[in-house]
Every structure is written in C-alpha cells, then in structure tokens.
Symmetry: C2
Subunit: 120 residues, 2 copies
Amino acid sequence: MENKVKNYADEEHCPVRNVLDRFGDKWSMLVLMLLSDMEVLRFNEIHKYIGTISQKMLTVTLKKLEADGLVERKAYPEIPPRVEYSLTKRAKTLMPIIQDLAQWANKNMADIQDSRRKVV
Amino acid sequence: MENKVKNYADEEHCPVRNVLDRFGDKWSMLVLMLLSDMEVLRFNEIHKYIGTISQKMLTVTLKKLEADGLVERKAYPEIPPRVEYSLTKRAKTLMPIIQDLAQWANKNMADIQDSRRKVV
DNA sequence: CGGGATCCCTGCCGATACTG
DNA sequence: CAGTATCGGCAGGGATCCCG
C-alpha cells in the first residue's frame, strides 16, 4: 500500500485535479445543483435563481459544462429564442457525490468558521 | 419541494460555496488526499510528493487547512526543526466523500476529455 | 529544515454596452 | 431572450531571496 504511491504531481492525469479544474470554479457546482433541483431551466431562469452571477459568467459556465458533457442545451428556433438547460446522464451520476459534499458542508460549516476565528 | 427553493445567491451561507472556497483551490484537496494516504508527513515530504507545488503555496495551503481544522500541525522544538502534518478527525469524515469524487473522476475523465475534444 | 517576505504576472471574474 | 464583445481590477499562484 505505502510502497505503491500514487503520482500526486502529474497534473494532466491526476483525476482529482482534472475534476476540480472542471467544476472547482466559482459557479459550476452551483449551476449543477440548481439544475439537479429544477430539472429544466431556461437561461434567464438560472440567472434569476443565482442572482449574483453575471450574464457573461453564466454563459461561460454553461458552455464549459456543456463541453464536458454535464449539461445539455436545447435551443428552440423561435422568436424570441428559447433555450433550455438540463443535466446529462453523466452529470446525474455525479450529483449524489455533490449532495454528500453539500451535506458535509452543512454539518461542518459552523464549526469550521469557529475554528477559523480562533486562528485569525 | 419546488415552491420552497433554496437560496442559491447567498454566498455567505451557501454551504457549497463555503466548502469550495475552502478546498476548491489548486492544491488543498491534493494535500488532503496525500495526508489521507500517508497519515503523517513532514513539510518537505509533502513537497516532494507533490513535486509541482511551490514552497509558498504549500505553506499557504497548509495554513488554510490548519485554520479550518482539517490539518493538524505538530512542531518539535529541535534543531534542525521538524514539523509533522496529519489529518484531523473532521478531515477524516470528509475523506470518504473526496474518495468518491476521485473515483468518479477516474471513471469519467476519459469520456469527459473526449466530449471536450468534439466541442473544441 | 521549515518557513517568511517580495515581486510579478496570468487569468478569473465583474461591469457595461451591443446584437440577432 | 439569449447571448457576444470589450475593458479592467484584483486575487491566485509562481519564482526568488532571506532567516532562525
């Protein structure tokens, strides 16, 4: 076990680095959780739920998630245009883990903030 | 369920944002996983395992994790000095989730990279 | 050995204005 | 409505030098 050490330096192939590079940014995980709750949402609906995100960052975030095959984008050829976003199957296999993470955060956030105050 | 919508905009109290602000950075989760595997490590040992991290960032990362009560620091009053780092109990409750995340990443990384190539 | 202190640069992200 | 284009601030992070 200890003689076969993983490669913690290899940025290209380290799965953790790779997964964090994808939704470790400011908004991705929030969008994923929102879509997980609401199933299908239009662009401006997401924008309203996450009140503090800028239009630009929402666009960038959705494109990145779409490129990773985590979010599906359906555009309807209407005027005015309508675009619906939803989670892919791949993203749905990820959500239970995200939920666990959120639960852990909920339980431990207060204590962590206390720890931080003592040190700072 | 759908009429009681969570507050996705509240940055201060959103647990996901709060947890990601803590170890969503470039190195924290990697350090946590390394310490989870090796139990106890000295500063320079961590530095060698994660070959690409700078001394400064390792210092910053460890301080942040210590402030959050996720890493314990033991300094021995010797010359030359010796400092040992290990996970706290709180961090150990987090690690199963991190492991799940890593497993998910391992399984899906290749497919995600394929998706990305098609789009880009 | 285990850091601190500084300099500097990249890129994330926000704000604003414009478009089909 | 659902974006695109552009400008700019500033924080994350790397490189280097210094210290007890």
